[in-house]
Amino acid sequence: MRKARSAHADPAVPFAFRKPTPGEELIRFDGLIKQFGAKRIYDGVDLDVRAGETLVVLGGSGVGKSVLLKCLIGLMHPDGGSVLFEGYDVAKFSEEQFLEVRKHVAMVFQGAALFDSLSVAENVAYPLREHFKKMTRAEINKRVAEKLELVDLPNTEKLMPSDLSGGMRKRVGLARAIATDPEVILWDEPTTGLDPVTTQTINELIDSMKQRLGATSIVVTHDMVSAFVLADRMAMLANRKIVQVGTPEEMRRSQVPEVRAFIDARRLELNPRGTP
């Protein structure tokens, strides 16, 4: 088992990112506990993510897949356990300490979460203005154009979010997320609500981020087709725990009831009459 480089459990130690070698453990959720009011959604979630891989987290609606991502970048705080990123326990980080983490970890939200009052260019430039105060306007414009080109949306700088289709919004959301060249990209239900063609386009984009940027991706989804297309490894979240982690082939052959139920339901969806 890969070990974290160091355990900087002391939140006073300032976060400093060191580019990991591929395959090395980058993130570890350790005994994570989370509850909303009286409802406990995590009861000791353990999961590790390796540098450069695409890990797909599967699970039914409402099991708390997105919460896992939000705990990593401090949008939510766990009630117990630790979230180690580069060996630093970010679960104990303050909002100010998270600013440094968020330079390296970007999130693509389910509904894209574009700022309605800003143009496409202003949306993509947003993290650059926040993180790189010394960047000139020309440098920002150049970076924005590059990132929009990367997501196949050239010359859309002046459009407003209301002018975009669902798939285009997701791609602008991705361009915004990768504007700072993050090492980790978190994808929250990237293909939910999209037609099959757009779904395929988004899947290709996620894969290209790995190839072009060498980014580590955590994809949260219940779309089994996308999961098998994208994943290096898959993790199944059910009954408040990770019930299985494995390669797509291992998951296909899994006898864990929760995993089997997911795979069989997908088969039934593709072949509803059960004809051979």
């Binding site: 401090g74 909002e95 600013l99 999130m107 509904g111 979460a113 700022f115 947003y126 993290p127 926040e130």
Partner: protein
């Protein structure tokens, strides 16, 4: 049954609701402290402050002026009628100006314009919350309080006293016109009596009320907007709650500010 126990199928018990309200009050107090601590530390977002001050102020001016005009007309009619019974209708200018400056202009502006501004802020921030735009601001390395709350709260703090002053003037002019047409008191007589009676403290107390009401409206609107849960239904709930809370809080604050300013 124990006091405060839940009645089956009738929602949260009194004890639970009280606890929830106290927690909300605590969270609002914490947010107020955070807003002021961020407001005094650079960087300052002057552009956003100017934008919100202008947009809230300009959009609210017509309703503020309309309300103040009719308030001036009605109180002049009422006071003119009753003062005439005692043969002292020439003092109507004094009564109208004191009523307007100290009480009616700030309170009516807060209740009409404030409800509109507060619910607008709650709806805007609530929509941003449910569409994860507020989370996105944090994820992209910015501070939602600094970006969204500070400019709106301080815009309210600036706009409300300014609107109060506009309401003072328009209400007074409206009152003067009614008194002239209905009771035959000349404009000179009306304004002379009014200016003789009013002190700087009367004017300032109204402006202070406007500022405090602005602060309440901005803070409550932002707080309810950022606390939205449950999608678009939650946004609707937040806007109506904002109107109710600001109206009640403005009335309560009005009493205490009046009590305090009467000592000076």
């Amino acid at each position: 049954m124990m006091p405060g126990a839940r009645i089956a199928g009738h929602g949260p018990s009194l004890k639970e609701r009280l606890k929830e309200r106290m927690e909300s009050l605590g969270a609002l107090s914490v947010m107020t402290g955070q807003v002021f601590s961020r407001a005094v530390r650079p960087p300052y977002d002057w552009a956003s402050l100017v934008f919100h001050t202008e947009s809230l102020g300009v959009r609210s001016l017509p309703i503020a002026l309309l309300t103040a005009t009719f308030a001036g007309l009605v109180i002049s009619l009422q006071f003119g009628y009753f003062l005439a019974r005692f043969g002292v209708q020439y003092t109507v200018g004094r009564v109208v100006i004191l009523t307007l400056f100290r009480e009616l202009a700030p309170v009516l502006t807060a209740l009409t314009v404030g409800a509109r501004i507060g619910s607008g802020i709650a709806a805007e921030l609530g929509s941003m919350t449910v569409t994860e735009q507020v989370d996105a601001i944090r994820a992209l390395g910015a501070d939602p309080l600094r970006k969204l709350v500070v400019p709106r709260v301080f815009a309210c703090l600036i706009v409300m006293p300014v609107l109060t002053v506009f309401s003072d003037v328009v209400g007074l002019v409206g009152g003067a016109l009614v008194v002239k047409s209905q009771y035959g008191i000349s404009l000179d007589q009306f304004f002379q009596g009014a200016l003789d009676a009013v002190l700087m403290g009367d004017f300032v107390s109204g402006v202070i009320k406007g500022a405090v009401f602005g602060l309440i409206i901005g803070l409550v609107g932002c707080f309810k907007g950022l606390a939205v849960e449950g999608g678009t239904e939650g946004v609707g709930r937040a806007t109506t709650q904002t109107v109710a809370i600001t109206s009640v809080t403005v009335c309560l604050a009005d009493f205490f500010i009046t009590k305090i300013t009467l000592y000076f």
